[in-house]
Symmetry: C2
DNA sequence: CACCATATATCGGATCCCGATATATGGTCC
DNA sequence: GGACCATATATCGGGATCCGATATATGGTG
């Protein structure tokens, strides 16, 4: 029973979105989420690691590899196929929600 | 200090969206939010009245009028100018968030 | 030497969602 | 007549989540 099927928080969404292009470590996710949102989303570390644990448990993200740079560990996370599907579905829901207010009902594909 | 400026929950967004066209009473908001989201959003009553109280307190929604139908009270809520601005801004944020994943960077206006 | 960016991790307060519950009326079905 | 459902409002409490504070550690900059 995978969660995130009908609802996803903003933090979770941007974490998955940040991982779409390439695996990243925690701090890298925070920075990329900030970049991708135009500086609007500032993930707190407490938010990140909690959400990351839930995503790993749900199978939407997996631990890719661990590196040690300057004595500090770096844990890279990778998005799974399920994670990619989930974040793309969420993007569609966000777009549909936006259209309710913007009034753009253009039903291009389906 | 008006909240909802940088973040708005899904429930709050759909409540405001439901009120854009005309004032509605609580139960009417629940039904319209369900319609507008294609049946996806099912506001629980506990969610509605809690969120409604916060919105009134924040000045995004006001009590429009009270009616009594069949001995049952009906309390109509109306969205304010601030509420309209807030929900339109949120719609833009949702669209921008969706674009992060869908890749549509079409910068039409600004 | 102080401070900041990088990097991970945990804890607890605060916020919010939402099902359960309560109350009340009118219509439908059997 | 009684069971059930839609309508309609309201409250309570559990659970999920966010997030600032805190802790620990290293290397670079002023």
């Amino acid at each position: 029973m995978v969660p995130f099927v009908s609802k996803m928080t903003e933090a979770t969404y941007f974490i998955l979105a940040a991982l779409l292009e390439a695996p990243l470590h925690g701090y890298g996710i925070i920075k990329r989420a900030g970049d991708q949102s135009g500086g609007r989303v500032k993930l707190a570390v407490g938010t990140l690691y909690g959400a990351l644990d839930r995503l790993v448990e749900a199978g939407l993200v997996v631990l890719d590899r661990e590196e040690v740079v300057d004595g500090r560990p770096r844990r890279y996370y990778r998005i799974t196929d399920d994670g990619g599907t989930a974040v793309r579905e969420e993007a569609v829901r966000l777009q549909q929600a936006a259209r309710v207010v913007t009034g753009q009902i253009a039903v291009m594909g389906a």
